[in-house]
């Protein structure tokens, strides 16, 4: 039995996580450690368990077996310290809400029930919008933006929660090449402050910007071997060069 303790400057730790959905295994023996300055990309085929893994990290789904420790507690308790940017095409774009209002909803957890947004909340929202370069669009209705712009707004919404970890689900799925590159530049800036986990099946850009690539297809395959893989020798260690072949197969 491995002792459940977090190492110094470790933000998130998954230990031997298993999950199955209607008795179909989705995740097996998943181990992951995220440290302060990590920028991790999780790649893998559709149905490989990427979204499930994110839901487990967010504490929205509990694993059948194994441990998840986020900031020394369960992800359920500390969920509000995770900035989450969902896949954006699940929204109803006609929704009557402005960019400004969307970003402010990120402050909900800080304001408390029944209270109005304070000056400080608005200041934080304005700063986040400036950081993602969308401040001038603050009065636009959310549907009247391009894919890349919507993504930036959702990133701003995640940033105003003052997260200790940023999670992005397919951030470039609906964004053209040029805008994707700009997004990755933005992630790099954000990564100077907090660790980032991003899920993607576009491996083109990923390799240039992230410092760890993990391939997930029911099991995790780490690009660089680390101490966790050592404990579980079944887990294959994949060299960076073969990674591309793996995803395309």
């Amino acid at each position: 039995m491995v002792e459940i303790t977090q190492m110094k400057d470790e933000i998130l730790r998954l230990e031997n996580v298993w999950f199955s959905y209607n008795e179909v295994p989705v995740l097996e023996r998943v181990n992951l450690s995220v440290k302060k300055n990590d920028f991790i990309a999780i790649i893998g085929p559709n149905g490989g368990g990427k979204t499930t893994l994110l839901k487990i990290i967010l504490g929205m789904v509990s694993p059948d077996r194994g441990n998840v420790i986020f900031l020394g507690g369960s992800p359920g308790e500390n969920r509000k310290y995770i900035g989450y940017v969902p896949q954006h095409f699940q929204f109803n774009f006609d929704f009557p809400i402005s960019v400004w209002e969307v970003v402010l909803t990120g402050r909900l957890g800080h304001v408390g029930l029944f209270k109005r947004y304070t000056k400080k909340d608005k200041q934080i929202a304005a700063e986040a919008l400036k950081e993602v370069d969308m401040y001038e669009f603050r009065d636009r209705q959310i549907g009247k933006l391009s894919g890349g712009q919507i993504q930036r707004v959702l990133i701003a919404r995640a940033l105003v929660t003052e997260p200790k970890l940023l999670i992005l689900d397919e951030p470039t799925a609906n964004v053209d090449k040029k805008a994707s590159k700009k997004l990755y530049e933005l992630f790099k800036e954000i990564n100077k402050k907090i660790p980032i986990i991003l899920v993607s099946h576009d491996i083109g850009f990923v390799n240039f910007y992230v410092n760890k690539v993990i391939y997930l297809n029911r099991r995790l395959y780490h690009q660089n071997s680390n101490e966790l893989t050592y404990h579980y020798p079944e887990q294959k260690v994949v060299k960076g060069s073969t990674l591309k072949g793996l995803t395309l197969r």
């Binding site: 967010l58 929205m60 969920r79 509000k80 995770i82 989450y84 969902p86 095409f89 929204f91 109803n92 774009f93 006609d94 929704f95 009557p96 809400i97 402005s98 209002e101 969307v102 402010l104 909803t105 990120g106 909900l108 957890g109 304001v111 029930l113 029944f114 109005r116 947004y117 209705q141 549907g143 009247k144 933006l145 391009s146 894919g147 919404r157 929660t161 799925a173 609906n174 053209d176």
Partner: protein, 288 residues
């Protein structure tokens, strides 16, 4: 029109229309943007069971309707949270059970229920002052809750998942919203009746949505439209001596159709930008 105001029942009818419009403008906006029209239908038909119970026990049927629609809201909310894929089945079942209970209660009540039809199809001209007071109290409750939880409801309707991530329970918020719908339904029963509630709940909000992209403006516009529809419908029903509830609904329904045609004609102008984005999204989706 002005000399009609000297009659108390006309004054009550106009006041009833105004009170109903406030609730249906605010809550109808949520019903439309969150796409829970069918749930609202279930809640309103369930209220019929309460009206029957009211007759049976000899209390004000509106009190019975409040009890039944609130329990329907909670029942549908809790069951659909747990078994999300069966949500529409749950609603359909509750819808029918409520109506069936109402029919049996009315049947068990000795004597004849004279104004039962006015609960089904509405008759704002027969609203007594006591009901106006109940409607006022319901309005104040609805307004206060929405005022206090405005930002939470906005987040809930836009992105439920994110609401739970920032640490606010979307399940509880959703139940509160359904309860507000239940109260609104009760308010509207007197004006347009159980069967036509859905129309007055959704049409003003659906029209305002065509012309504004802000939830607050949508609410204000819906309230104003509600006042116009109830007043105009009432006046037409008196002039032509036809049922008031149905006239109010027809007035709003026809306005809605005209607005759709208008919007359709000017569509290019309104949403060319949005369409461009949609097209781009579609092409990207296909290429994946």
């Amino acid at each position: 029109m002005l000399e009609m105001l000297q009659f108390e029942f006309i004054r009550n009818a106009l006041l009833g229309g105004l009170l109903a419009s406030i609730a249906c403008g605010i809550i109808g906006t949520y019903v439309v943007v969150k796409r829970i029209v069918f749930i609202s239908g279930g809640i309103s038909h369930c209220a019929y069971g309460g009206i029957g119970l009211g007759y049976f026990l000899g209390i004000n049927p509106i009190i019975g309707a409040v009890l039944f629609s609130l329990s329907a809201a909670l029942g549908i909310g809790i069951m659909s949270n747990k078994e999300s894929q069966y949500e529409d089945t749950v609603i359909g079942v509750m819808w029918a059970i409520g109506m069936a209970l109402g029919i049996i209660f009315v049947n068990l009540t000795p004597g004849y229920a004279p104004d039962l039809m006015s609960y089904l199809f509405g008759n704002v001209l027969t609203v007594p002052t006591s009901d106006i007071i109940i409607m006022g109290i319901l309005d104040i409750t609805i307004f206060t809750v929405v005022f206090l939880l405005y930002k939470e409801f906005l987040a809930l309707c836009f992105d439920e998942e994110f609401t739970s991530i920032v640490g606010i329970s979307p399940e509880i918020l959703y139940l509160i919203l359904l309860c507000l719908i239940a109260l609104t339904v009760v308010l509207l029963i007197r004006v347009v009746g159980i069967i036509l509630v859905i129309a007055l709940l959704t049409i003003p909000a659906a029209i305002s949505r065509m012309f504004t992209a802000s939830l607050k403006k949508m609410m204000i516009m819906s309230v104003l439209l509600g006042v116009v529809f109830t007043t105009l419908g009432l006046w037409l029903s008196i002039v032509f001596k036809i049922p008031s509830g149905a006239t109010i609904i027809l007035t709003s329904g026809i306005t809605y159709l005209i607005c759709i045609c208008y919007k359709h004609t000017f569509r290019q102008k309104f949403s060319s930008e949005h369409n461009l984005f949609k097209r781009k999204y579609r092409s990207i989706k296909e290429s994946i």
